[in-house]
């Protein structure tokens, strides 16, 4: 079904300089935009929504993305009109808002084993950017000039990019044979130039870094800091805490771990937790309680700001509501079920899984088949495929993370799709998908000849 573009159902050009009370030179000449009534828009977006996969459509086992169920009630909580305040209101007049922020900071600190938390970073990558800047400020405060950040080869691309944005050289650490950090390689990489090692634990194939205490010692002995990428925190809730493992700085991905909806790309939130010594470098302003009143204050040696205001407020509210709904036992159970689901699903799949024991996610290999083609074929089985061809050290990787939100039947169906797709013929794979809204999309041409707006379509 073809859904016309907004522009294809009619546009109108308004003579702006004519319509405006402003002098001509201060306005645009004219404005052309689509002109759609509310009934037309309702149908347009309703139909578009029906052409889109989501957590409420079916399983979404993208490894490293933790697409779990997003509880409806958190939307209602976030929509409270009393919570809709302008960011420059005086502190005394928004005690409720500040109380929630303080409460969420406290929850996250407990969950991560951290001493202080900022909620300002608006996404995970912004959290990395913030955390690395905090580390940088820390070293600078000690007149300790360091130029490198070590990142495992299997890490998220954002780790590399965030470190580079902060001006660091990135030292890539190859994966060990067992899929974990190779202590010898780390030994070789660590030096006086090491500002930080960025690590995900469990790592991107779901393995816990068993040598984390040694790793921590090696980095700390060299004067570096240990950074925890929170992408995989859903594996460990209530069972292990980055702070207890020796991490100095961490970010949380609330749209992964704490079930805030990902909204087709965002908004997320990437709060950053730190050990006590680093708290004074956190972004300003910070929130605290003093004698029952909540207030904002600027830490002495703050790195400044990473967002115009206090980050993605609506997302933070939903994260608070989720954490409070689950409590200790619910959080622990969420991880338990996430790990059980990954292990159960793997058990039902006729795929080689080179590394283990894994926790909430695992990298199966498509072997001699093309993982991306297998994924396209899975679409015809009515499910969303896993992350493919990543991490790179697993050949034809299919990085799978079912999350705790699927039950046995759903996982059995998912396994059937995995097993069916890999057994199908090359032709079936090449022609997949065929039962979807769109058939296989030509991404190469899209990139070679970028058409990024409806004007570009006219110009073809």
């Amino acid at each position: 079904r073809y859904e016309p573009l907004l522009s294809e159902t009619g546009t109108k050009t308004v003579d702006v300089s004519e319509e405006s009370p402003l002098p001509d030179g201060l306005t645009r000449e004219e404005l052309e935009l689509p002109t759609s009534s509310e009934p037309e828009l309702s149908r347009h977006y309703t139909r578009l929504s029906q052409m889109n996969w989501s957590v409420e459509t079916g399983p979404y086992p993208l490894g490293s993305c933790t697409m779990k169920y997003n509880p409806s009630f958190t939307e209602d909580v976030a929509a409270d009109p009393n919570a809709a305040v302008h960011p420059e209101r005086s502190e005394e007049t928004i005690q409720g808002t500040l109380e929630l922020l303080a409460g969420l900071q406290d929850y996250l600190a407990r969950i991560g084993g951290m001493d202080a938390v900022t909620l300002q970073p608006p996404a995970g990558a912004a959290g990395e950017f913030t955390g690395i800047h905090v580390a940088k400020a820390y070293h600078e405060s000690r007149n300790d000039d360091r130029s490198e950040v070590i990142v495992p080869a299997s890490a998220h691309g954002t780790n590399f990019a965030s470190a580079a944005m902060a001006g660091y050289d990135v030292v890539e650490l190859p994966s060990g044979e067992d899929g974990r950090v190779d202590l010898d390689a780390l030994e070789a990489a660590v030096s006086e130039e090491t500002a930080a090692l960025m690590l995900t634990n469990p790592n991107t194939v779901g393995l816990f870094e068993r040598d984390i205490v040694e790793i921590s010692e090696m980095v700390h002995d060299a004067g570096g800091l240990l950074y925890y990428d929170g992408a995989n925190l859903n594996a460990l809730l209530g069972r292990a805490r980055p702070g207890d493992m020796g991490f100095d700085v961490m970010h949380y991905n609330v749209h992964k771990t704490f079930a805030t909806p990902h909204g087709g790309g965002g908004p997320g939130a990437g709060p950053v937790g730190v050990r006590e010594e680093l708290a004074e470098f956190l972004p300003r302003p910070r929130v605290r309680e003093q004698d029952g009143q909540y207030e904002l204050y600027d830490p002495e040696r703050s790195i400044g700001k990473v967002h115009g205001y206090q980050g993605n407020w609506l997302v933070l509210v939903k994260a608070y509501a989720y954490i409070a709904r689950l409590g200790d036992s619910g959080l622990e159970d969420a991880s338990a079920k996430a790990v059980l689901n990954a292990n159960y699903l793997a058990e039902q799949m006729e795929y080689d899984i080179p590394y283990g024991p894994f926790h909430h996610e695992f990298a199966a290999t498509a072997g001699d088949r093309d993982a991306a083609d297998v994924a396209k074929r899975m679409l015809d089985y009515g499910v969303h495929p896993p992350t493919t061809k990543w991490p790179e050290f697993v050949p034809e990787a299919m990085l799978t993370e079912p999350t705790e939100a699927e039950d046995k039947t759903s996982l059995d169906d998912l396994a059937a799709a995995f097993n069916g797709a890999i057994s199908d013929s090359e032709e079936e794979l090449a022609n997949a998908p065929s039962k979807t809204t769109a058939q296989r999309i030509d991404q190469a041409t899209a990139a070679r000849n970028p058409r990024l707006s409806w004007h570009a379509l006219d110009e073809q």
Binding site: S7, E29, V170, F208, A334, K337, L340
Partner: protein, 448 residues
Amino acid sequence: MTDAGRHEHVDGTPYAPHTPAETAAMLDAVGVDSEADLFDVPEAVQFDGDLGIEKRSERELRSELSETFARNDDLTEFLGRDHHTHYVPSVVDDLSQRAEFLTSYTQYQPEIAQGFLQALFEYQSLIAELTGLPVANCSMYDAASGLGEAARLAGRVRSVSGTRVLVPELLHENKRAVLDNYVDGTDLAVATYPMDDGNVDVDALSALADNETALVYVENPTVRGTIEEHLGDVGEITDEAGALFCLGTDTAALGLLEEPESVGADVVVGEADALGVPTAYGMGLGLLATREEFLRQVPGRLVGASEDASDRRTYTLTLQTREQHIRKERATSNICTNQAWVALRTAMHLAWLGPDGLVDLGNQCVQEAASLATELNGIRGVKAPVHDRHHFREFAVRTDQPAPAIAEDIEAGGCAVHVLDDHLLQVCVTDVNASRTDELVDAFEEAV
């Protein structure tokens, strides 16, 4: 009182569907006795304490948080300064909150994500219409991070030789602070140029902008709400200096004020969520649009049109080799999760307004500000507006009495305004609070 739903998980998460029997069968299939056996965590780093987070039922939480938020005072806000509120129609909530949009992920499998991709393509197209610039990305976090990314983009553009980023002396302090962090780690350096009665001081800028300049940032409307009258001059100055011209604006203003492309802007940044998101304590949507020639230097996601195997029009994320998940440390930015859902809302709101609605909204922003300024100016001891310019939505107010004390009295009178300085306030009026300016005028009169 316990929560009445789904009792099997009273001690676990209510959001895992496992019945005890299913859990048992799955443990059996995996070959372990309990979930704990699946964790490969060395004892030394196991956590066996309590987090101390009390579980509440949905009903309890809704009631508790409703009480929490009720502790915010109910003030009529006349606040702006980089965060503006216009009425968002209900249909935007209704449609954007459909689960298929709200709970979807980044469109890595475009064949089953055509709906969101088309909506983002339409967002890009609408921004292209508003700015005149053909390349708009799917979003930055907010105006501040957009400016930071624009500066870094200038640093990557080969034709630009300088490293100085010139920003106006009147600039929101938060935006400046974020920019400082974005250029930290590059060889860019930020400097300010002076303003003349709330607009760019053209002569001063002309003198400052040389071939050491990478980027000149100008706002329209400015943080003081003035409409900038010298955009054409800025275009010429930046051209001559071989620098990029970065214009800061917002979606509501773009419908009325000068088209960025036509004044020579190379990059447009700003808050796109002036349309689409009601007041949400500063949550934003960073606009970023630029010229075709800088396409490969653009940060963030881009949606492009394509064809599928049966030659039908489709959409897909494109040019991903700029991005961190492919390019790693050589990416144009680290941005990954962005504000896509807010962009969806902004597109909906723009489409709802249409060209007539958007121009009308812009006109309201001009007229209501002018008329409120006139009213306030009639109060003894108050001068409004401070700047002898046209204003959009907001304006500065000079007070004979100390401004902080006046603002406090106004707050006691039920309204919120900005304090800029010892004798300087700022007020903002839009379609949302225009019917309540009487309250503000009364509070002002009481206060001075």
